[in-house]
């Protein structure tokens, strides 16, 4: 992996050295000409993006890529997935190797303002937590003083854990690896007493443990980790398409549109909101540079946000995470989309 991300960095360098000046507003044209959305995803994030034995990708972040492809290219399968580790991700986006970064990345001010990328929204409200072996008999974060902590290089987790332990006057030793796979194998081998990352990742890692029941995810959450997709700066047209793809996924769930009923709703629904959303009598898509059925295709080919969540992270998945903050605002969660009109 090392040589790989150094290669990426070197390519970024070479790209910056040799490329002609970047031009705004061209991503949509490039994607259409190529016939593929190139989407940066996690190398291995159970529930967010992981490839099965046939090389077929699935996960919440993968569904997001598929939704963008459905909206823009009319076919959710026209996606090329580029697995990236945490150090490669933004460099890869800056260098123009990918069109969208959909790789459970935390939206922060410094990333938004200084990396040459811009976040398009939030598709998962996460927080950082801790996992420990049950045999240590620890039930609270404040008993972790002096522990050895495994953490992934170049993540917000690395900084949060320093902040948290510092603020509470506790000490720890960090062991930093550059891939999630290296961390989980070191953690399950017992090199560290604690593994810290986002709660959803911990649940995923635990599901892959030799004996998941030997490990406990502590209930405390020490940070806000709003995860979302990002695009390069300077291309507002593409930014709007990616952002409203996320809103369309939410809007579909709020309107009760599912993969199963969207065809029927399209022909029978009298609700002007639904009709507008599905492009029956109004063309909202052309404002984005797309066609009238962009949102219809998202629901038809990918499903709404809730379906994607349940399939990848929720009750229909091995992770079995509760919706919690990721429920719609109408159901006590934080997911809220501005109106499509």
């Amino acid at each position: 992996m090392r040589s790989k991300h150094l290669t990426t960095a070197a390519m970024t360098l070479a790209g910056l050295a040799l490329a002609t000046a970047a031009h705004a507003g061209k991503t949509l044209d490039a994607v259409k000409a190529r016939g593929q959305v190139v989407c940066g995803v996690n190398t291995s994030g159970p529930g967010f993006s992981s490839a099965d034995s046939q090389g077929k990708w699935s996960g919440l972040d993968v569904d997001f890529c598929r939704a963008v492809a459905a909206a823009v290219l009319k076919d959710a399968d026209k996606v090329k997935y580029v697995p990236l580790n945490s150090q490669q991700r933004f460099a890869s986006l800056q260098a123009g190797e990918i069109d969208v970064l959909s790789r459970n990345s935390t939206w922060t001010l410094s990333r938004d303002a200084s990396l040459g990328v811009v976040f398009t929204g939030i598709n998962y409200y996460d927080g950082q937590g801790f996992m420990v072996p049950k045999k240590l008999k620890i039930d609270n974060v404040n008993k972790l003083n002096g522990a050895t902590v495994c953490v992934q290089a170049g993540t917000t987790s690395e900084k949060n854990v320093a902040d948290y332990f510092g603020a509470h006057g506790m000490k720890y030793k960090s062991v930093v690896f550059d891939t999630a796979e290296a961390i989980t194998s070191a953690f399950f081998a017992g090199r560290c007493q604690v593994y810290t990352t986002d709660m959803s990742d911990l649940a995923g890692a635990r599901s892959k443990a030799p004996k998941p029941d030997d490990y406990l995810v502590l209930p405390q959450v020490i940070s806000k980790e709003p995860l979302g997709a990002s695009v390069r700066r300077g291309d507002d047209e593409w930014f709007e398409i990616v952002r409203w793809t996320q809103f369309a996924l939410l809007e579909a769930e709020e309107n009760g549109l599912t993969q199963a009923n969207v065809d029927q709703q399209k022909s029978t629904s009298k609700d002007p909101g639904v009709q507008r959303f599905l492009g029956v009598n109004e063309d909202m898509g052309k404002l984005l540079g797309l066609d009238s059925e962009w949102a219809y295709r998202i629901v038809k080919q990918v499903g709404n946000y809730g379906e994607s969540f349940e399939r990848n992270l929720g009750s229909k998945s091995p992770l079995n995470l509760p919706r919690g903050a990721n429920n719609l605002w109408t159901k006590g969660g934080l997911m809220y989309a501005p109106p499509i009109r």
Partner: protein, 386 residues
């Protein structure tokens, strides 16, 4: 123009023309190179600007905000990126120096083993070289690290060696004198004195190997002084204390795996250099030495080895440089070297270009130091009459 120049005059004129042409050509090449570099630099700047990526080295004074697992000097998350890079560099240096020492010792031993007349010893030497030279370093590192973390016991139940050392998944903890800095100072002084005395004595009484005798005596003296100081003044012993093992000095599994991996891998190449150097000494030198009545051991020490050294030192320098560069593989087994710290920084602040420049500059300077030092050694060795 008067009559055609003849003889020396004609030659000088042609020579002047030749020189002028060469200067012109080289000047033109220089201009082209500079223009190319300026073009690249200008293009990078324009692209960074166009992509709205902030650039510059100002970030070095911002607080780094992340912790580092292994420290040779004080550092906390509130310290600057500059200090974080210094920690990374010190970790790179530490593992490189330790690796160079161990690889050299192992390399010379294995190289001599391959030259041995004993079949089993020679075969063991060959096996060593073939195994460590012909498998990728990355795989060796991962294997050693995996074995260390899988097989060693938990830190709550370490393998104890007489309250002097503890071995566990937390690494190797050894007892050190409680007053660590003073002990090191005492050891240094005694070591220098012992080494100097041994060197002076050896120069008078031994035909060859005075330098080696001095180094060995110095190291032995230092070690003895260090042990004596610890025994008199008191030890700081490693003890299991909740999660951590406290007291003593500690070598993490990451450091141990990297150190061992780099040393084993490089020792195979050094062994081959030693062997090649010894075999390259003309066979007549052997015959002459033996004819003069030298024993085999004396012939090696006094005749063959010094000549082999001359041949081996230039390629040895590049092995040392390779070892330093290979230490950047640290990142796969979680050892916080310069590249690992660089990776983390790139992601925290996005200054990829600047960080890569820093990393390259550090490796370049380290290797230039090695080149200069080995150049000096080489000059010294080749100065001796053949």
């Amino acid at each position: 123009m008067s009559a055609a120049a003849v003889g020396d005059e004609a030659w000088r004129r042609r020579q002047r023309a030749r020189l002028r042409r060469e200067w012109l050509l080289q000047g033109a090449l220089l201009v082209v190179l500079l223009a190319l570099l300026a073009g690249i630099a200008q293009n990078v700047a324009a692209n960074l600007e166009a992509r709205q990526i902030k650039s510059g080295f100002g970030f070095l004074h911002d607080p780094a905000g992340f912790n580092i697992g292994e420290l040779l000097f004080d550092y906390s998350a509130r310290d600057s990126y500059l200090r974080a890079f210094a920690v990374g560099m010190s970790n790179t240096l530490r593992v490189s120096i330790a690796g160079i020492v161990l690889a050299s010792v192992l390399g010379v031993v294995v190289g001599l083993m391959r030259l041995s007349h004993h079949g089993l010893v020679a075969w063991l030497g060959s096996a060593w070289v073939e195994v460590f030279r012909n498998t990728p370093l990355l795989i060796q590192l991962l294997t050693i690290y995996l074995l260390a973390t899988e097989l060693l016991p938990d830190s709550s139940a370490p393998i104890a060696i007489d309250a002097v050392a503890l071995l566990s998944k937390q690494g190797l903890q050894i007892a050190v004198p409680a007053e660590g800095t003073t002990a090191l100072g005492v050891a240094l002084v005694v070591g220098l004195l012992a080494g100097g005395a041994a060197f002076a004595a050896a120069r008078r009484w031994l035909p060859v190997g005075a330098g080696l005798a001095g180094v060995v005596a110095g190291l032995a003296g230092a070690l003895l002084a260090w042990l004596a100081f610890g025994t008199i003044d008191g030890w700081s012993r490693p003890e299991v204390d909740g999660f951590l093992i406290s007291g003593g000095a500690s070598l993490t599994p990451e450091f141990l795996a990297l150190w061992l991996g780099l040393s084993l891998f490089t020792s195979a190449s050094i062994a081959e250099l030693v062997r090649a150097g010894a075999l390259a000494v003309p066979v007549g030198q052997w015959n002459a030495a033996l004819a003069l009545g030298l024993t085999r051991r004396k012939a090696i020490a006094g005749v063959i080895f010094p000549q082999a050294l001359r041949l081996a030192i230039p390629p040895l320098a590049s092995q040392y440089m390779n070892l330093i560069k290979n230490s950047s593989l640290a990142v796969v087994i979680g050892y916080p070297d310069l590249v690992s710290i660089g990776n983390t920084s790139i992601n925290q602040n996005g200054q990829a270009l600047e960080v890569i420049v820093i990393i390259m500059a550090v490796y370049l300077s380290l290797n230039l130091v090695v080149a200069v030092a080995m150049g000096a050694v080489n000059a010294r060795v080749t100065r001796a009459p053949r």
